[in-house]
C-alpha cells in the first residue's frame, strides 16, 4: 500500500487518516470474523460471523474510494494490506476475543461512522448511512452474546471481561486525543459532528450499561498516555 497526497489542511489530513484507518480496520475485522465462520460455538453464530465478515469487507471496499475524493491516491494492495489495530491484525485466539472485538472495536468504529452520517464530505455521508444500517445487526449480535456469557458467568465471563479490556486499551486510542487540532477543525467544518472524547464516552456508557446488566465490572479508562501514538495509522 502506498499513500500519495499533496499538502492538505489539518482537518482534511485528519479525515484522510480516519477514513483510511477505518477501512483498514474494517478489512481486518472482516477477516477475523470470517475465520470464525466455521468454528463459532453455535451454527447460528457461525452464520452470523460469515454475514458480518461479508459486511465488514464490503464496508472496507466501499470506504477506500472516499480517500480519492479527498485528493489521496491509494494503491490497493488487497485486504491483507493496511495498518489495523494490533488486536485484530492476527487471528483471534478465542470466542471471547471475537465478542470483545464485536463489542469494542466494531463499537468504536461504528460510533465514529455515526458522527459522519451528515458529513460535509458527501461520499462519506452516503456510505455512513448504509454502514449504519448494516451495523445494527452486529450490535444485536454482540449484545446478545454478552448477555449469554453473562448468564453463564464463571471463567467464561472472566475471560470476556479480560478481552474487552484488551480491546479497549487499543480501540479507545483509535479516535485519538481529544482536542486534536485537526479533529477540532474537522468538526468545525461539518466533516464529523463529534470528537474523540464523545466517541469514547458513548461506547463506554453503552458497554458499562451492558456489563452492569450481567453483574460484571469492566474498566474502560480514558487513555492517558499519547506518547508514541501514530496519528496516521491511529494506533
Amino acid at each position: 500500500m502506498s499513500l500519495k497526497s499533496s499538502a492538505v489542511d489539518a482537518a482534511t489530513s485528519t479525515m484522510i487518516s480516519l477514513i483510511g484507518s477505518l477501512a483498514d480496520n474494517k478489512g481486518a475485522l472482516g477477516r477475523r470474523y470470517g475465520e470464525w465462520a466455521v468454528s463459532a460455538p453455535t451454527i447460528e453464530s457461525a452464520v452470523a460471523a460469515a454475514a458480518m465478515a461479508q459486511d465488514e469487507l464490503g464496508h472496507a471496499r466501499a470506504t477506500y474510494p472516499v480517500l480519492a475524493k479527498l485528493g489521496v491516491s491509494r494503491d490497493d494492495e488487497g485486504l491483507e494490506a493496511g495498518y489495523p489495530l494490533p488486536v485484530i491484525a492476527r487471528e483471534l485466539p478465542d470466542w471471547a476475543s471475537f465478542i470483545a472485538a464485536n463489542l469494542v472495536v466494531d463499537g468504536i468504529l461504528t460510533t465514529f461512522v455515526a458522527t459522519a452520517r451528515d458529513s460535509s464530505i458527501e461520499p462519506l455521508a452516503q456510505r455512513a448511512r448504509k454502514i449504519l444500517q448494516e451495523e445494527g445487526a452486529h450490535r444485536v449480535h454482540a449484545e446478545a452474546w454478552l448477555r449469554r456469557i453473562g448468564r453463564t458467568g464463571g471463567s467464561d465471563l472472566d475471560l470476556l471481561i479480560q478481552r474487552i479490556g484488551e480491546m479497549w486499551a487499543q480501540a479507545s486510542r483509535w479516535p485519538g486525543p481529544d482536542g486534536h487540532p485537526g479533529y477540532q477543525e474537522a468538526i468545525a467544518r461539518g466533516m464529523v459532528i463529534e470528537g474523540p472524547a464523545a466517541i469514547r464516552r458513548r461506547v463506554r456508557e453503552w458497554l458499562l450499561a451492558l456489563s452492569d446488566g450481567v453483574g460484571a465490572r469492566v474498566a474502560l479508562d480514558e487513555p492517558a498516555d499519547w506518547d508514541g501514538w501514530d496519528e496516521v495509522h491511529r494506533r
Partner: protein
Amino acid sequence: MSVAVALTDAERVEARLWDALRKVEDPELPVSVVGLGLIVSLAYGMEGRVAVVELTFTSMGCPAMEFIEEDIRDALLRDPDVDRVDIEVVWDPVWTKDRIRSEARERMRSLGIVA
C-alpha cells in the same frame, strides 16, 4: 381520453434501455434489478451514445456486485444506439425492502420469499 406524448429520440432509447434492464435478473433472486430497486437512475446521452446508470446494492458486501454490473453492461450494450455504459455505484438512497417494486414483491412471495 388518452393523450399521445411525442418522445424525443433520447427518450425512446431510454425507454428501450429500461426494458432491457427489466430483463436483467438478480443472480440470487428471480426478479429483475429494476424490480429489486437496484437501479437508482438511468440516463442516455445522444452525443456520446452513452448510457449512465446509478446502481445500488442490497448490501455493501454483496458478493454478486461484479456479476450484476457485467449483466447490466452487456444488456445495455446490446442496444444499437449505445456504444458505452457508465455505471456509478451509489449508497444514497440507502437500499431497503421499500425499494422492491410491487410486481417483484408479488413474484417473490409467490416463490415463498419474504419481502
